[in-house]
């Protein structure tokens, strides 16, 4: 594979990597990506970093929690819920 083509191929792969990770690509495109990855260590390295990014995002929620729910607010929410239930 010529270096220039290789780079263009990589660009096409880069554009599809999220859909590939999310299993949202059609089987044909998946096979194309797998075939490319088999011979392209830089794309594997890039895919791994993207995969890691997705996992880190899932675990990134802060330790901050909302202030405790006051009794008045709870009563207000409960009243809205009861009213809604009564309409069913």
């Amino acid at each position: 594979m010529e270096p220039d083509n290789h780079s263009d191929d990589c660009k096409q792969i880069f554009a599809l990597l999220s859909e590939y990770l999310d299993a949202e690509l059609n089987p044909e495109s998946c096979e194309d990506i797998q075939a490319h990855l088999a011979g392209c260590p830089p794309c594997i390295e890039f895919l791994e970093s993207l995969k890691r990014t997705v996992r880190l995002c899932h675990n990134c929620e802060s330790a901050e929690a909302p202030a405790p729910l006051g009794p008045e607010t709870r009563e207000k929410l409960l009243a809205a819920y009861r009213k809604s239930l009564s309409r069913r």
Partner: protein, 212 residues
């Protein structure tokens, strides 16, 4: 197939619709914190996030009988939360949208002895995902919060809250294709920020100044 976490939420929604005794408090406990976290990342202000959590829950309970499909409870709640966030629009975090270009988000490459090499950090240096250092968490949160709103909205729902592509499309009133496009660019932008952070650490280590 919904995830186990989602399955619990669906059961909770069914219990709430059936008027089961403890369902109300369980629902508040599960969703209040979730909405607060989402709103904090979306709006960037704790005070706004507290209000969004409360306003959202009020609207949810006020209209609960309208939830026809308990299977959609998560998307339904986040749609209300998203609208509550929009009511809190502040210029700094809801600035006019700037499109992210795919080309700008890809790493540079260089020739190295006949092989092409990407200029990216050594990602194996990252700590275990489950025990994120607070500094790394801050970097990720800042990277998400700095995204233009249309990208931030998608990555928060898809990758942080783990809604499906279709659910995210319903919450945001956009097509599933737009969800996919925006998600990819958002991930690439966050990846680039993380990569820069790692390279900074690794360059510091090389020069004996950084934290390993």
């Amino acid at each position: 197939m919904p995830s186990p976490q989602t399955q619990d939420e669906i059961e909770l929604a069914r219990d709430l619709l059936a008027g089961k005794a403890d369902a109300f408090d369980r629902f508040v406990e599960v969703f209040r914190s979730k909405i607060f976290q989402y709103a904090l990342m979306m709006c960037g202000h704790r005070e706004d996030a507290e209000e969004v959590a409360q306003d959202t829950l009020f609207k949810v309970f006020e209209n609960f009988e309208q939830l026809r499909e308990p299977e959609r409870v998560r998307a339904w709640v986040f749609r209300i939360a998203r609208n509550a966030c929009y009511m809190k629009r502040r210029k700094s975090v809801f600035a006019p949208t700037q499109e992210l270009s795919l080309d700008d988000l890809l790493p540079h490459s260089e020739q190295d002895g006949g092989h092409r090499k990407l200029e990216i950090a050594d990602w194996s240096a990252l700590p275990d995902d489950q025990v994120l250092r607070s500094e790394l968490r801050d970097v990720i949160q800042a990277a998400i919060q700095e995204l233009p709103e249309i990208y931030r909205a998608v990555i928060l729902l898809r990758d942080v809250e783990e809604l499906s592509t279709d659910e995210t499309a319903q919450v945001l009133d956009i097509s599933p294709e737009s969800v996919k496009t925006r998600l990819h660019r958002a991930r690439l932008a966050v990846r680039r920020t993380l990569d820069g952070y790692l390279r900074g650490i690794q360059s510091g280590v090389e020069h004996g100044t950084g934290q390993p």
